[in-house]
């Protein structure tokens, strides 16, 4: 897979110059310059999400939809977001969440989303395998019961991949027998959460494990290749 983000950085440099041109002529912003800012924002709103920068779409939307008196302030906020993209910023940490229940995926992506974290989801064993193969995950949250795969096999597969030697794997399971937990531990799971689980406890464990992994220096900011 080609990294298309540098291409967007080039495009963003042009948009930054356009926003500066509209803002730097002083305030209050004239109607024509306000229209220009909304137009640039409209374009960025449409392109940010396409290139995988949803934060650009959000910040650009706040300019496009702003009442007149907020357009300039929101455009300056947008510039900050764009500047971070151009400078590259810290690489996000890739987290993979594997669960076949869409409601649990939604819950987990909600509680685990945060600055510097790029969340990926897999709703089947096959999808999880494909994503493991790409590499680059700093942490995996794994449901044991998947329709097309045994979570133990997936866990084993992660542990047999040298790229994931030190990648924390948090297991979620409705199977809560001592034997299950023991097997997970033996296969190299980092933590075990019984379903139904406390989302905040899982989120706290994810953050703690990522901080720990960052200290070790593994898997953080690795690129995901195809």
């Amino acid at each position: 897979m080609t990294d298309l983000k540098p291409l967007y950085r080039q495009a963003v440099v042009v948009r930054i110059a356009e926003i500066h041109a509209a803002l730097d002529a002083g305030e209050p912003v004239s109607a024509a310059r306000e229209q220009a800012l909304r137009s640039i924002a409209h374009s960025l709103r449409g392109s940010g999400g396409t290139y995988g920068f949803p934060e650009v779409s959000t910040a650009a939307g706040a300019v496009e939809d702003a009442p007149s008196h907020d357009v300039a302030a929101n455009a300056r906020e947008l510039l900050l977001v764009l500047d971070r993209i151009v400078s590259g910023g810290p690489k996000p940490v890739n987290v993979l969440i594997v669960d076949d229940d869409p409601e649990i995926l939604l819950l987990l992506t909600t509680v685990l989303s945060g600055d510097g974290r790029q969340l990926h989801t897999a709703n089947s064993g096959a999808s999880a395998m494909l994503q493991f193969d790409r590499g680059g995950f700093a942490l995996v949250v794994l449901d044991l019961m998947l329709p097309d795969a045994d979570g133990f096999d997936l866990l084993e597969r992660i542990r047999h991949d040298s790229r994931y030697d030190n990648t924390p794997v948090l297991v979620l399971s409705a199977k809560t027998t001592a034997a299950t937990k023991e097997k997970c531990e033996k296969l190299g799971a980092t933590a075990f959460f019984e379903k139904p689980f406390d989302p905040d406890a899982v989120a706290a464990a994810v953050v703690a494990q990522l901080v720990r992994a960052a200290d070790i220096g593994d898997g953080i900011g690795d690129d995901i290749d195809a």
Partner: protein
Amino acid sequence: MTRIALVEDNPDNRLLVHAILEDLFEIDEYAGGAEALVGIRTHPPALVLLDISLPVMDGTEVLRHLRADADIASLPVIALTAHAMAGDRERYLDMGFDAYVTKPIVDETILIGEINRLLDGNRETV
């Protein structure tokens, strides 16, 4: 080189699709639905990539015009959309799109795969 049409109003998004496909296809770029319909009728491509959220005439309307014109009605058309809601795929396929690719386009192999699948399908039925 096989020629495909790209209908997308956002210049940065055209840049992205162009960068992904330029080595594989000749690309006719259109920024709006009306100009695309004129261009596609004049120089029919082998396939159309059609953004849904176009100003003035949105992608679904462009598709209706394409399907209503016997000369170009059978062109394979892929919907490009940021709307990734459950059931969207079926909705777009029901409308008459041949395939549906959601943004973000971070994995270009999905887009290329869909294009090749449709082009190959067409070759087999010719």
